[in-house]
Symmetry: C2
Subunit: 295 residues, 2 copies
């Protein structure tokens, strides 16, 4: 297939690389061209903008940063929907607003294009290894048609419902991560403060009813003082903001998520926008640090 | 060995049964005698109080409800320390205050007795199957001496440090559970509210970076409307209260844990003291219910 690919950041570059390696022709655009260099070297065709990508491709995949970037890529002056011909399917893999996914699906429908929202979990490692979890909203038919591409990217591809259902599922995922991260960090801070061996604590409590992916994978990074991303703090704040906004619109109170988001606002304020989400540990530590203890 | 056993509730009765089945002589006391009936039928000797248990045994194990119960069992009028002879080792397996564990160790030391604090995780199922995680504080020597008993009860027995270190590790465990539970419940509420299939969501998000024991084990119970314990809400509130008190004493702020404790106070207020911790879902649901939706 002729696959258009818009967005070649940490995630997108690896993902497009897998699609290319599977033998598909890639038509690529990214805000900074240098991040697409690896793909271009291997034969991807550089396009001047999203509209040009759409004209050249059978299907366009997008994975960019924030909802406003998605908005621009689809509805902007040079956007996908400004193109008069070309692609029959669009797939937004950015984590973005469910309501935006619905708007894209509607605008696509008016143009005879199928739209899928298909955000992922699994982070940079999942993208690199082609083992992402992909949560798909839209129609089953469009999903089936895109399976040859999805199967290059992920190990679990699940149809969740109509337009926006993929994004809503991703919101459930991010809500689930949020409280878990606070617990991981508070638990390890407590351990340090009382003089326990943090790694020994992880080894004991990570295997039982308190266990989680986060304590077993991010916990050891915290112990080693490794706060590199992983998953950017600023993207996590965006995701939690979307979930809170959606929930509030539906009249659903989320006190846990609201607190966690505020704590991450503090993490960002302390200069950790581009650190991994485990940097929450540093912000919580700083909060109690004037009491004169060090971990 | 002659083993004294004080506390034959949901956990204690199963645990003492394993020790008995391994061939040890059991000397038992419990506030309500009928809960010790199964052990007595199989040959355990009923004693009139903790002091009598201590006189008859080489080592006494205690697993009761709240710190004040532990206090009474050890320091009360008829308590273990009122006994003038008998046991050489005491092991408190109740989840209780680290500072109380230290006090017990000191009082024991004055009497030539070794004390261990050895709280567990794994709940009623772990107790029944003999697969508890046991976190031990005290001395390695005393722990080694008690291994024949511990090995009847648990699959992971770990020495964590001096007196109180077992309790502190258990606090880390409970802190870790706390935020995870809020996330589990908020995530599933969000899923229900937007009309996603909750079990399908668990199947997708429970396997990746958002995954935890709680979402994969308690999540499906929530979906089925099963809020039976598991682990009692009132005991979880007690544990979180201890952790918060210890943390505050050390000048350590725990905003996540504090919120979760307050939410569980609401769960209790709604009549769920003796429900499982997953009943948090019901309290959060009730919070937003007047908006006119049902899950």
């Amino acid at each position: 297939m002729k696959i258009g690919w818009i967005g070649t950041g940490v995630m997108g570059a690896s993902m497009a690389g897998h699609v290319q390696a599977a033998g598909h022709d890639i038509y690529v655009y990214n805000r900074s061209k240098e991040k697409a260099a690896g793909l271009i070297e291997k034969g991807a065709v550089w396009c001047g903008g999203p509209g040009e990508v759409a004209s050249a491709s059978d299907a366009v995949f997008t994975i960019v940063g924030f909802p406003e970037d998605v908005e621009e890529v689809y509805f902007g002056h040079e956007g996908i929907f400004s193109s008069s011909a070309g692609c029959k399917t669009v797939v937004d893999m950015t984590t973005t607003k469910p309501s935006l996914a619905v708007r894209i699906a509607e605008a696509a429908g008016e143009r005879g294009i199928d739209a899928l929202d298909a955000p992922v979990s699994g982070g940079d490692i999942g993208a690199r290894d082609g083992t992402l979890v992909i949560m798909v909203g839209g129609t089953r038919e469009a999903m089936e048609r895109m399976m040859p591409v999805f199967e290059c990217l992920g190990s679990r591809i699940t149809f969740m419902g109509g337009p926006g259902a993929g994004q809503h599922t991703k919101m459930c995922n991010q809500i689930l991560v949020s409280g878990t991260m606070v617990s991981v960090c508070e638990s390890l801070l407590y351990a340090a403060r009382v003089g326990l061996d943090q790694q020994a604590v992880i080894d004991v409590i990570g295997k039982g009813a308190a266990g989680s992916w986060s304590i077993n994978n991010l916990g050891p990074r915290i112990v080693k003082g490794d706060f590199a991303t992983g998953f950017f703090v600023e993207h996590f704040i965006k995701d939690m903001g979307i979930a809170l906004e959606e929930a509030e619109t539906m009249g659903l109170s989320m006190p846990g998520l609201a607190l966690v988001k505020q704590l991450y606002v503090a993490v960002k304020a302390q200069g950790h926008s581009r650190s991994g989400t485990q940097a929450l540990y540093l912000a919580l530590k700083a909060m109690s640090e004037k009491n004169g203890w060090e971990t």
